[in-house]
């Protein structure tokens, strides 16, 4: 894939605490890709800022593009922003389950790191009918905004300390 080598990407899903991203190990030549995290886009904004502060230039993707990276064997490892974890699995920022299932299918290691904050279960439906404050959908369109989801333990291979 034009300029991208197989196994050259560390993929981040969710909003991470600054401390977690400080500890993130990125080998030389590896790229860090960040899922943008609709509807707030907080993952793209906050993670990018923290990575730039470390001298790492992040590459933002839309939340629907993770699958492409896996399909092209570009992903070396995945980190999920985790709000709570136990033996049964982990409560993560929404979007984690997609990455978890993809990682399992493509045999890519999946790891947890602390999320920036604990969120409510559901966001405001108004958030998904607009983008950066601008109304996108037709008036009257319903929205559904789950902010967290459960990732069963069978998808997880290693938990962060």
């Amino acid at each position: 894939m034009q300029g991208y080598k197989p196994g050259s990407i560390v993929l981040l899903q969710g909003v991470f605490g600054a401390g977690a991203l400080k500890k993130l190990k990125v080998a030389k030549g590896m790229l860090v890709f960040v899922c943008e995290g609709r509807p707030s886009l907080e993952a793209g904004k906050v993670n990018s800022k923290a990575l730039l502060a470390r001298g790492i230039t992040p590459t933002v993707i839309c939340d629907n593009m993770a699958g492409f990276l896996f399909f092209k064997d570009m992903v070396k490892e995945v980190y999920l922003a985790c709000q709570y974890a136990d033996a049964g699995g982990a409560l993560c920022d929404t979007g984690a389950l997609i990455c978890a299932v993809l990682a399992k299918r493509h045999n890519v290691p999946l790891k947890l790191m602390p999320a920036k904050h604990k969120t409510r279960f559901l966001g405001n439906p108004e958030d998904i009918v607009s983008f950066e404050g601008v109304r996108i959908t037709p008036k009257g369109t319903k929205g559904y905004v789950p902010l967290v989801e459960w990732v069963p333990g069978k998808y997880l291979c290693k938990k962060s300390k």
């Binding site: 894939m1 034009q2 890709f33 899922c35 943008e36 995290g37 609709r38 509807p39 886009l41 793209g44 904004k45 990018s48 800022k49 730039l52 230039t57 992040p58 590459t59 933002v60 993707i61 839309c62 939340d63 629907n64 593009m65 993770a66 699958g67 492409f68 896996f70 399909f71 929404t94 979007g95 984690a96 389950l97 997609i98 978890a100 299932v101 993809l102 299918r105 998904i128 009918v129 983008f131 950066e132 601008v134 996108i136 959908t137 037709p138 009257g140 369109t141 319903k142 929205g143 559904y144 905004v145 789950p146 989801e149 459960w150």
Partner: protein, 318 residues
């Protein structure tokens, strides 16, 4: 039958092709006048039209270019080349090749090239319209009472029209439409046309599909396709692959509207268009994630045939 404006988003009147600007729907229904191949390539490349609309533009462009002076066959070959190179993932060459072949044959036989091409294009359009309507009826039949359907991007009017038929038959249906970043065709177009068809629709972020499936909130997924390979693999809007993988994981049937083709052997042979990253990094000219962040924007995914539960094909032959 209810017909969505997205089902047939380009109409020729005289020497002008009027193409629905899908980037403005639903706030505006504005048609862009296209007078030649240059204008046609511009509306395709800028995604003013997309999916089936592009094929309408490609075919109708030959009608716009029939008055060229000089060697008409050579001119149509040049037109075909420009259209073929407008967006790499789409198999425009499979369509333009047919038209150019008709022109060459007419010339070789001493027939009227203009008349032969016009007749072919008009016949092709009429045929494909009927076959797409038939596909709408097949999709309507595949929707069952109580279905809660996940869809992605926009299926060029066909899902909304199928929903209208199914609802009229008394089937109770619900739809979840992914937003489909960065152009947001799901949030803008799919929600709009499903609501117009009388369907109940909810928009979700693209990252929500796992939860919808894991919690059993959807029991079927329906997507379109922009290209098919001989082995049944398809290319469709980016995001389709992860929907297919998760649907497979959670035992949810994936229905795909396809255009069978033997142009390439498998999905691996399909070139994937990488679009300008600014299309996802910027919104209304403003950098959303700061100015130092990079972006990556593949326009399409390949979905292997093994992940497709049911393909509803349209046969686009002449």
């Amino acid at each position: 039958m209810y017909e969505s404006p997205l089902f047939w988003p380009a109409h020729i009147k005289g020497k002008t092709l009027f193409v629905l600007d899908e980037t403005l729907v639903p706030s505006k229904m504005k048609y862009i006048p296209v007078k030649d191949v240059k204008g046609a390539v511009a509306v395709i490349r800028s995604m003013k039209t997309r999916a089936f609309g592009q094929f309408l533009v490609v075919l109708n462009t030959f009608l716009l270019e029939l008055d060229a002076r000089g060697d008409l066959v050579k001119h149509l070959e040049k037109v075909a080349g420009l259209l073929n190179n407008s967006r790499p993932t789409f198999p425009f060459a499979e369509v333009t090749g047919i038209i150019v072949a008709v022109a060459r044959k007419a010339k070789a036989n001493g027939a009227d090239v203009r008349a032969a091409v016009a007749k072919t294009v008009q016949g092709f359009l009429a045929g494909i319209r009927e076959r797409r309507l038939e596909r709408v009826r097949q999709l309507a039949a595949a929707l069952e009472y109580g279905d809660c359907v996940l869809t992605h991007c926009n299926v060029s009017g066909e899902l909304a029209m199928a929903a209208a038929i199914a609802i009229k038959e008394g089937k109770k249906l619900k739809f979840f439409a992914t937003e489909t970043r960065p152009y947001m065709q799901g949030a803008k177009l799919t929600t709009w046309e499903l609501a117009k068809a009388g369907a109940q629709v909810t928009v979700v972020a693209d990252n929500t599909i796992g939860l919808l499936m894991a919690e059993g909130r959807v029991n079927k997924a329906v997507i379109g396709s922009d290209r098919s390979a001989a082995n049944g693999d398809i290319a469709n809007k980016v995001g389709s692959y992860q929907i297919a993988v998760l649907a497979h994981e959670f035992g949810i049937p994936l229905i795909v509207l396809t255009q069978p083709s033997k142009g390439v052997k498998s999905g691996e042979d399909m070139p994937i268009e990488l679009r300008d990253a600014d299309e996802l990094l910027k919104f209304k000219g403003r950098a959303v994630f700061g100015t130092k962040t990079k972006g990556f924007y593949p326009g399409f995914d390949v979905v292997p045939h093994s992940l497709i539960t049911k393909a509803i094909p349209i046969h686009a032959g002449l």
